[in-house]
């Protein structure tokens, strides 16, 4: 299978899974900002997703994408280290056009994965997982996403950890976005610059959405979510 046994095929897997994860982050970020405006609308989204079958199937799909992305990251890195050989250069000099992120995607990826463990522990375990196993006696009900955000960011340590995490994802995406398009062959003299620009804007906007929510809930939790909203008028 060319996707596994050719260098370009393996990179195609990284690109497609990476691009899908960027799309997921975009949806996730959009849903998060709802919490800034309306508690009821945000909790509506939490309830809609909750532990419904389609949300569980989508979560499993997401986990599979993530697992593929991580496994291939390690395979590629292992092969690349081998291709580089054992002799290291005594003197190295990084050319100006080479971005730090592009040479440290695995390091950034590991920081992202560690942050993800924290995030799953803080939210997913208390929401979807708690609902699946029917956990009781928690700080907030599983579908009270607004309450969980408030509770998590009431501890200032978390905002620092989350901001570091968000910065690492931002750096990972600024390279990953155009690199994915380049690997899929959708690039050239003109589109290289366009994708790079689109990638920077896209990842900055998406990660800013996450950062704003974390910062706002740390400094001003009581002034948020006051608008009475209904984001899903046809369902509820």
């Amino acid at each position: 299978m060319w996707l596994c046994n050719s260098s370009i095929g393996r990179k195609v897997i990284m690109s497609v899974t990476g691009a899908a994860l960027i799309l997921f982050l975009t949806f996730h970020g959009c849903m998060n900002v709802v919490a800034l405006f309306s508690e009821s609308a945000y909790n509506q989204i939490c309830k809609l997703l909750g532990s419904n079958w389609y949300a569980i199937v989508a979560t499993m799909g997401l986990a599979a994408l993530m697992a593929l992305h991580v496994v291939y990251a390690f395979i590629l890195t292992f092969q690349n280290r081998k291709a580089r050989g054992n002799n290291k250069y005594a003197v190295t000099s990084k050319p100006a056009i080479v971005e730090w992120a592009s040479q440290n995607m695995l390091v950034l990826g590991i920081i992202v994965a560690l942050g993800l463990v924290l995030h799953l522990h803080d939210f997913w375990a208390n929401m979807m997982w708690a609902e699946i196993i029917g956990a009781e006696g928690l700080q907030c009900p599983p579908t009270d996403g607004f309450g969980w955000i408030k509770f998590t960011f009431s501890n200032p340590v978390f905002v620092v950890l989350y901001l570091i995490w968000i910065a690492a994802i931002w750096m990972h995406l600024t390279h990953g976005f155009w690199s994915a398009m380049q690997t899929l062959g959708w690039s050239g003299h003109i589109w290289f610059n366009r994708w790079k620009c689109i990638g920077y804007v896209w990842s900055s906007v998406v990660m800013a959405m996450f950062a704003i929510v974390a910062i706002a809930f740390t400094f001003c939790p009581d002034c948020l979510g006051k608008c009475d909203g209904n984001v899903l008028p046809f369902i509820f």
């Binding site: 060319w2 690349n80 580089r84 050989g85 005594a90 390279h175 690997t183």
Partner: protein, 251 residues
């Protein structure tokens, strides 16, 4: 014009299995319009006069077109020349009096060291043999204008064809990837109607050979295009990816 003195710290290695080490030698009063390779010739004359073994390095045309010179100088393949120049076009005036100039071989599993800074680059020849050609019957040449080619395509193909296969891209890449070389060689033919006929077969065969020879996976760091003496760009790599993916999807 001025004369400068500098120390050359050069890599010595007896074959691919040897661990290798650095030796150093001070070159005194070298005119700054001396080419760097001429300075290394002076180094060797002095080493021989001292009864030492000369330093081995590759070189041939010394005018930047053959791709034979291959030294990693102060952390950069071909040294910090102007863009679009090879080691043989690097001059002593690029260094300062008292500098220590570190000279290393291309370090990559795909290019085993033969001796000192001379590395075995036959892997590139093998990749070319795998598909870097068009299968045509030789004989009376056809009229030059029998197949019309748009000027931008012809120019782009010519730019890709200017790759001299020196291996600086592999030397600069942290993944030891040969993608810039392979993509330039695939592009120079893929852009022309004569090369389109075998484009899919060529992309598959050359990538398969590149992978088989142990070159790494491209992660788009752009170190290759930053050091390429012929200014090849990663637009070629995108083109190769496109050709390869299209060929595999068509199978």
């Amino acid at each position: 014009m001025a004369n400068i003195s500098f120390t050359v710290k050069f890599w010595k290695q007896n074959g691919p299995k040897d661990a290798g080490h650095f030796d150093s030698h001070e070159l005194k009063n070298i005119p700054d319009d001396t080419s760097f390779l001429e300075a290394l010739d002076i180094l060797n004359e002095e080493l021989i006069a001292e009864g030492k073994e000369p330093f081995v390095f590759d070189h041939d045309c010394r005018e930047g077109i053959c791709g034979m010179c291959s030294l990693y100088i102060n952390g950069t393949p071909h040294g910090k020349t102007e863009r679009g120049a090879t080691t043989c076009q690097l001059y002593v005036r690029k260094f300062k009096d008292g500098d220590v100039v570190t000279v290393e071989p291309w370090r990559s599993a795909g290019f085993p060291v033969i001796k000192d800074c001379m590395v075995d680059r036959t892997a590139f020849d093998k990749i070319i043999q795998a598909g870097g050609y068009t299968t045509v019957r030789t004989g009376a040449p056809q009229d030059a204008n029998a197949i019309l080619i748009p000027k931008p395509d012809a120019d782009e193909a010519m730019d890709c064809a200017s790759c001299i296969g020196c291996g600086a891209c592999v030397a600069a890449c942290k993944n030891g990837s040969a993608m810039l070389f392979v993509s330039s060689k695939v592009s120079q033919l893929a852009l022309l109607p004569q090369g389109r006929v075998e484009a899919a077969k060529r992309a598959k065969a050359m990538v398969a050979k590149m992978d088989e020879l142990g070159f790494g996976n491209c992660t788009n760091t752009r170190a290759c295009e930053a050091v390429c003496p012929k200014c090849e760009t990663i637009a070629n790599i995108a083109r190769l990816n496109r050709e390869f993916i299209k060929a595999k999807l068509a199978d």
